[in-house]
């Protein structure tokens, strides 16, 4: 009797803190939103939605690392541990299948899926939130690369930018005028972005059967599309068109190159527009530089075939082990509202996935290229949707770096071999 009471007390003492933690009797349940670094926009949206929830829930944010691969690393290893503290996640699209496949993402409720499918969301973002024909995440913002050009350079070359241009034209102009191209050649995710866009623009696919199990995955690099992609990257690399910084050039470095005297063309995300304007205000670049910058849809690989610009952005996933899945989806609905998306674009430079949000006056004012971005998103091709994306992407980076070593005759075969071996568990990365 006595002993049992002690046991009960002990049990209570052990459970009480856990229970207090779980139900939080003092206030509304707290939802933790894992955000990628930005300029404070997501924290602001979290506060706004907490207010709108009026006591139903509270959103706190927790920061993930800067680059996409490390973000995935943090989330995947917590989800693999069935972490219940992950309620909402800002997910970089290519890593979604890896989390969806083992059931780490809570199913998207029907009404939200219907909303997403109702026509207000750009296609690229829907595609990147889908795994095995099911919506597994909710599009939040959608990023895409544009072709940025210096108007003075284009004028001197007599290039008509109102019509689509090809990579070969871009390369020719840079060569003729002895200028440099802003592309991302660093051994990082941005290199995969470039390879994928080139392969897709040439009508190919990096993986032809993305839903296959690891040892059956087939690559489409050993094709005309793969060889064309290798030819373009190899040419820019070996001709020195990306400048000496190419092997380490990330988005930031290619922007710096584009802003310099030898800048001509650049493929990059829209953040460059606000960043260049800010730099011009600060005096870091000539004040009239922004006036010399134009934009167009991503260059084509094949002259008579639409380009497939890179798409990125962030989709929101809800952790399958969260204790408040329903509330988390309520919160997601609030976060992705078109008003929040357009405000986020205007303040943080991240383009909306909602088509409606592009018509916002503030957006049009801050981003005169908003309509081009929207069209580019519609045209864009996601990176391979496979649970083994990390291996595929690292394998590509291993074999396509540095850009000057890329050779259309050997590189596609080498990377096919490496990636297949890695997926079969026969090689290291």
């Amino acid at each position: 009797m006595h002993r049992r009471r002690i046991a009960a007390l002990l049990g209570l003492a052990l459970v009480a803190p856990l229970a207090a933690c779980a139900s939080g009797p003092e206030g509304p349940p707290t939802l933790t939103w894992y955000i990628n670094p930005d300029n404070g926009g997501q924290v602001e949206i979290a506060a706004r939605c907490t207010e709108e929830a009026d006591g139903a829930y509270r959103i706190t944010t927790s920061l993930l690392p800067r680059d996409a691969a490390s973000q995935r690393e943090q989330l995947a290893r917590r989800l693999a541990a069935h972490d219940s503290s992950i309620d909402i996640m800002s997910l970089d699209p290519p890593f979604i299948p890896e989390l969806a496949e083992p059931g780490f993402l809570a199913a998207v409720p029907g009404d939200i899926a219907d909303d997403v499918g109702s026509g207000d969301v750009v296609q690229g973002a829907i595609d990147s939130s889908t795994w095995r024909d099911e919506l597994v995440a909710v599009p939040f913002w959608a990023n895409t690369q544009l072709l940025w050009y210096r108007k003075s350079v284009v004028e001197a070359a007599g290039l008509d930018m109102s019509a689509p241009v090809t990579w070969d034209q871009v390369i020719d102009v840079a060569q003729e005028q002895d200028l440099l191209l802003g592309v991302q050649g660093a051994k990082a995710e941005s290199l995969t972005v470039w390879i994928n866009a080139l392969v897709a623009s040439a009508g190919g696919q990096i993986i032809t059967n993305p839903e296959a199990p690891a040892d059956e995955v087939e690559l489409g690099l050993e094709s005309d599309a793969g060889r064309e992609a290798a030819r373009i990257i190899g040419t820019i690399g070996s001709e020195g068109l990306g400048g000496p910084g190419l092997p380490t050039a990330d988005e930031n470095a290619s922007m710096a190159l584009f802003q310099s005297d030898r800048g001509s063309f650049m493929v990059n995300w829209p953040f460059v527009w606000s960043a260049t304007n800010a730099a011009a205000d600060e005096g870091a670049v000539p004040a009239d530089l922004p006036d010399d910058i134009g934009w167009a849809i991503y260059p084509r690989v094949v002259e008579d075939q639409d380009a497939a610009p890179p798409v990125g952005g962030i989709n929101l996933g809800v952790g399958a082990f969260s204790e408040h899945v329903d509330l988390a989806y309520d919160a997601v609905q609030c976060i992705v509202s078109p008003e929040n998306q357009s405000a986020y674009f205007a303040t943080n430079g991240n383009p909306p996935s909602s088509i409606e949000a592009y018509d916002d006056a503030e957006v049009q004012e801050a981003y005169p290229m908003a309509d081009v971005i929207r069209d580019s998103l519609d045209q864009g091709a996601p990176r391979p949707q496979t649970p083994y994306y990390n291996e595929v992407s690292s394998g590509l980076q291993e074999t396509w770096h540095p850009p000057s070593s890329v050779n259309p005759d050997t590189t596609p075969a080498r990377s096919t071999e490496l990636i297949t071996d890695v997926l079969r568990g026969e090689r290291l990365l």
Binding site: R66, S70, R77, E251, A253, W269, E282
Partner: protein, 280 residues
Amino acid sequence: MGVLSKRQRVWWTVITVLVLLYALFPVASIAATSFKSSAELNSGQMLPSSPTLANYEQILVGSAQELFLSALRNSIGISLISTVIAVVLATLAAYAIARLDFPGKRLILTTALGVSIFPVISIVTPLFNLWRTIGLYDTWPGLIIPYLSLTLPISIWTLAAFFRQIPWELEQAAQVDGATPFQAFRKAIVPLAAPGVFTTALIAFFIAWNDFVYGISLTSTSAARPVPAALAFFTGASQFEEPAGAISAAAVIVTIPVVVLVLLFQRQIVSGLTQGAVKG
């Protein structure tokens, strides 16, 4: 060697300048970067032409405040706790090694040696997996425990060397003079042992403070992320912009305590490091 000839004096000046340049230049370099505005980051010059405090503002009161200050809190807390635990355990062990004769003494010292050269990354993978299962992942104890593998061995070595030099007869002398064993220990031994313990603590703290591998592998939120790991999380106005300025500012701030400690205690640190290491 009391009076230097003129030539010697010139030589020593040159040598001193060279050593100072060697030791402090990279510190000066990152400090200079921390005062650069984003406009000047790519100037190709070491010194900023118009120094700004904007980077410090960003990490101390601005957008990166949460990130940096919580990392700083974690780093200080975790390093201090693991230092204290290591020093307490090591003091007991070193006392036993220095004063008592017992089988296994050598085994303990050899183990300490083995642990101190253990490749950290070899421990990380299994710990990472274990921590996930038992819920220590991303917690303070989850870092404090592995930090002991860094701080404990060196503490044992350093303290054992210190303690071996204490004239323990003083204790008996004090007891003969009528002090109780405890009084004798407190009055005669503690004042002699305290500097050694303190130095050991300082060295152990430096080692814990320096850790990166455990820090990035065993944490995932601001709940336990230490400063070296958090440096990879800073961002500019967008996720694509490189926050060299903010990283440098944070680096300078976490370097200040190190420089202050070194300035105050260089003599003790040197004797601690050298005594623990080589004594014939």
